[in-house]
Amino acid sequence: MKRKAITRLTIISFIVGLMIAIQYNTVKKPDSRDTRDIWEIRQELSEEKKKHSQLLSEIEKLKKLVIEYEESGKEEQAKVLENTVHQLREQAGLTKVTGPGVMLNIRPAEELILSGYEVEPISPNLLIRLVNEIYRFNGVYIEIDGQRVVFTTAIRDINGKTTVNGIPISNSNVDIKIITESMEDAKKLYSYLFASTFQDDFYLDNLNLVIHPAEEEITISEFHGEFTNTYIRKSEGE
């Protein structure tokens, strides 16, 4: 009888052990399953492809530059270097730029002002969102109310005034100029902005966002401030 009991106890403890092990497995390794459907995967793939082609074209550009450096003589090398410096200055926003793009205009909604609403400064959050969206849709250079947006630009509220690069922007009439890579991009950006909810978002703040159709030539002024490099030091030379 005792032996029989021990056998049964053994069988049951085996079952318990199995159950504990399964529970341990389940708790320890929650399987993170891929739940994306084919379209989501395709979309991701297309995004990666875009990145890929972007990188390839960048490599191509740099290769050309290398060849230019190598092939040019000593005198010409200075010229090539100058070119590069010019390009870098352009990228950093230190030069005037002209190109195809889109103009936006933010002004108080007149009908609301007439019926007694107050003109409020443009909210920095909204402006930041707009700038981010513009960059997302291939805007390259941006100027807000005469202030060039560069890498170090801060859009923020200072003492109740919305500032760009530390300089307050107008409450009543703000022009935003955007330059894109090509006219096609400019048209796309225009369509996107037109279809987006930005006009409604600005209207909530009693402002009208006017989006002008894409233009062939828009000029953006240079950045007037100074870049401060905290970490980069000038080389003393060899």
Binding site: L9, M19, A21
Partner: protein
């Protein structure tokens, strides 16, 4: 007496090596079933030590407790009340009680043996 532990180890090894997993939704049920099973096992060991062990009670208790615990958890899910906590509480308390009784019986036995040894040497 070591056979049940061997069975437990065997079960653990088999489960870990085969890497069986259950769907996430049933995790709660399995955890409570494990608790119920542990309770039954310790109850069985206690009964065995107290010499009141009954095969039928043990086997039926094992399956009935598991079924009851899972049923309670299931009902709780559908009623929106965490009824499985009731099962966790009940089994938890009983587990501690059983283990305490087992410990006392084992200590008693060990002391008895000790006394007997002394008597024989004297």
């Amino acid at each position: 007496m070591w056979l049940p532990f061997l069975g437990l180890l065997l079960g653990l090894a088999l489960g870990l090596l085969t890497d069986i997993q259950i769907p996430h939704a049933y995790e709660n049920y399995l955890s409570i079933a494990v608790l119920a099973a542990l309770d039954t096992i310790f109850g069985g060991i206690r009964a065995n030590l107290q010499q009141v062990y009954d095969d039928k009670v043990f086997i039926s208790g094992f399956f009935f407790n598991i079924a009851l615990a899972i049923g309670l958890a299931f009902l709780g899910v559908h009623l929106g009340v965490d009824l499985y906590l009731a099962a966790v509480f009940a089994f938890g308390v009983r587990l501690f009680q059983n283990i305490a009784i087992i410990r006392r019986i084992l200590i008693q036995k060990w002391e008895d043996r000790h006394v007997k040894k002394k008597e024989t040497t004297v």
